[in-house]
């Protein structure tokens, strides 16, 4: 908490039919990349917009760079850059005109030309915003966030819906921003993104924090670091699978079963025995090391993507 550049305690935001954020504590250190991870409707956008001073919380305190929104709104606005989950910039303006417009709001910052260059938008300098691809629009949104030379960058789902190449480009932008000393808070429901990009990750669900740590710490939280996925004909009953000594848990995944296990060497033979004992035939079997995705499943019993 000492040198946190973003911190909040007991954050609450209740809407008439849903508790969007329900008692959230977060702390983001200087120069780190912090990820808010969770399924749709988890409360990520609500949380990040409260931190950005755009939504007033029903309860809790927020401190950004040692200041509060109530007392230092203008100073804070000069020092943070924001990309909202969904903003449509002026379709009829060109990329350059848009960046220049946003640049004019800030006291200091880089030249519009150099920001466009950093985001590989030079070629699109004179294109209308309405004619850009999804990835280009997203880069323009980030350009508008960087044009005031911010200390903190807030990105709400910066890569959702982008093709892999655009996604990589944005990851590079984030890495470069951090090299210059910047702090990043981003939301995502993409596991790979969180694991690749973030120093710390907070997993949220239904407005609650359900896990917090570095990607490694979080994965280590799974008592069983390996996953076996298999299908058989006919399928086995879950009680039988759970009864396996090496199995720490199992959940359905499509029409397959996923088992969380300690040691693959122990568990795979046990499983093959079980299949034979039931007079069934193994149709498919695969294994992988546990990921954040598996952690989410083990924490909530639901999958991240399709909630």
């Amino acid at each position: 908490m000492e040198n946190a550049v973003i911190s909040c305690r007991g954050l609450k935001k209740y809407y008439p039919d849903v508790k969007a954020v329900d008692g959230l504590d977060l702390s983001v250190a200087a120069n780190e990349c912090f990820g808010l991870l969770g399924p749709n409707g988890a409360g990520k956008t609500t949380t990040i917009e409260i931190l950005e001073g755009l939504t007033i919380p029903d309860g809790g305190d927020v401190e950004i760079l040692g200041m509060t929104w109530r007392s230092h709104e203008r100073d804070l606005r000069e020092r943070i850059g924001i990309s909202l989950q969904e903003t449509q910039l002026h379709e009829k303006l060109t990329v350059y005109e848009t960046v220049r417009l946003f640049r004019s709001f800030y006291r200091a910052g880089p030249d519009p030309e150099s920001v466009m260059h950093d985001l590989s938008l030079d070629e699109k300098r004179d294109s209308r915003v309405g004619k850009l691809s999804g990835g280009q629009k997203q880069r323009l949104a980030v350009a508008c966030a960087l044009v005031g030379d911010p200390d903190i960058l807030f990105l709400d789902e910066p890569t959702t819906g982008l093709d892999p190449q655009s996604r990589l480009q944005l990851w590079e932008v984030v890495a470069r921003f951090r090299k210059k000393g910047g702090t990043v808070l981003l939301t995502t429901h993409n596991m790979e993104e969180a694991e690749r990009l973030c120093d710390h990750i907070a997993i949220v669900d239904h407005g609650h924090l359900i896990a917090l740590g570095t990607p490694k710490e979080l994965i280590a939280k799974l008592e069983a670091p390996n996953i076996i996925e298999f299908t058989s004909e006919p399928p086995l009953p879950p009680e039988a699978i759970l009864a396996l000594p090496a199995c720490h848990g199992c959940s359905p995944h499509g029409n397959a079963w996923q088992l969380r296990v300690d040691s693959l060497a122990e568990a795979v033979p046990q499983l093959i025995d079980l299949v034979e004992k039931h007079g069934a035939k193994l149709v498919s079997l695969s294994t992988h090391a546990a990921t954040l995705e598996d952690l989410f499943v083990s924490l909530t019993g639901r999958e991240l993507r399709d909630v």
Partner: protein
């Protein structure tokens, strides 16, 4: 400031202006539509020679002579008909007067119809003159078509007022509601931009187009229909400015909370419709009952139209339109202030 970047108010105004210029449809509604309306209405109601009154002459030996005499009258359109045909035409109003009889002329007509009475008088004059009657007094006719009293003279200032209202309200209201819906307003308030600057920029950009609109419409009326600005051009400019300002304020207020374009469109129409109908755009509101006139006069478009007509048609001095200018300024100030106060940025 970094290279090529101008102050926020300039950038915002120029962004809004470019956005508008690049919206071809909007250009038509602002510049093309009022001109087309002026053209159509101007020609539909232009002064023409009054229609001639149809008169039937029952065939007979005297008919050709009578026809020739009647044709000399500038107001009658005589033709020869059989008696049955003539009576039928008279009954159905196809002729206003039927002329019959031998040596003694018979005028058949319905005395309750003014055109029939006119036709009887005119026909009698024509026939008597042809028969050799001499007029005792010398008389000369002089026709009056005073510039400033034609329908088009009435219409052009009304269209000017209507256009100032329409573009002022839509220009502000639509843009704001659209930006709110696209979360652009939210994105803008997430920067250090001053909120008042955004709204002032919208208005400044409006002023640029307002100036063009007024020049185009006034020049059009002058060149095509000879509608002259009899009063001071400076005063006209001041009026347009204050009018545009008042309606921009009203547009801002209308759009200050609406979340959807449908919502803001409905509200706009609700506010503008009564003014289109009552504020004397196409016809004078003097025909409304006396009781509602004070109400109509309190509408901003009525004030603007009255003042525009006073300056354009009657060459009114500042002192005569000062009350309207002051009231419109109050309208603008109040609506801007309230609109800004209750404005929803997200």
């Amino acid at each position: 400031m970094s290279k090529g970047v101008r102050p926020a108010i300039v950038e915002l105004t120029s962004a809004r202006t470019k956005e508008f210029i690049r919206e071809t449809e909007a250009i038509f509604w602002v510049f093309g539509f009022p001109l087309i309306l002026a053209l159509a209405l101007g020609f539909a109601f232009r002064e023409k020679a009054p229609d001639r009154i149809p008169v039937g002459v029952v065939s007979g030996p005297e008919a050709p002579q009578r026809l020739a005499a009647l044709q000399k009258s500038p107001v009658l359109a005589p033709r020869i008909v059989s008696e049955a045909e003539g009576r039928d035409a008279l009954r159905h109003g196809r002729v206003s007067l039927l002329i019959d009889g031998g040596d003694a002329v018979i005028y058949r007509f319905d005395p309750t119809r003014p055109d029939s009475r006119t036709a009887r008088q005119e026909a009698d004059d024509a026939l008597q003159t042809a028969a050799g009657r001499r007029n005792v007094i010398v008389a000369r006719e002089e026709f009056v078509h005073e510039q400033g009293a034609r329908y088009i003279d009435f219409l052009i200032p009304g269209l000017l007022g209507m256009n100032l209202m329409g573009t002022g309200m839509w220009g502000m209201g639509f843009t704001i509601a659209n930006a709110r819906m696209k979360k652009l307003l939210k994105r803008l308030v997430a920067t250090p931009m001053r909120k008042s600057q955004y709204l002032i920029a919208q208005f400044l950009s409006r002023l640029i187009f307002l100036t063009l609109e007024v020049i185009v419409l006034v020049a059009f009326g002058w060149i095509v229909f000879g509608v002259r600005v009899n009063g001071s051009l400076t005063l006209l400019a001041v009026l347009c400015l204050v009018g545009g300002y008042a309606f921009s304020g009203l547009g801002l207020l209308t759009a200050s909370r609406a979340r959807t374009l449908e919502g803001v469109s409905g509200l706009m129409n609700l506010i503008m419709m009564p003014m289109w109908l009552c504020s004397g755009v196409f016809f004078s509101y003097e025909r409304f009952p006396d009781k509602v006139k004070p109400l109509i006069r309190a509408l901003p478009l009525t004030m603007l139209n009255d003042a525009l007509r006073a300056v354009i048609n009657d060459a009114a001095p500042l002192t005569r339109v000062a009350p309207q200018i002051a009231l419109l300024a109050v309208w603008g100030l109040a609506t801007f202030a309230i609109g800004l106060k209750i404005f929803r940025w997200q």
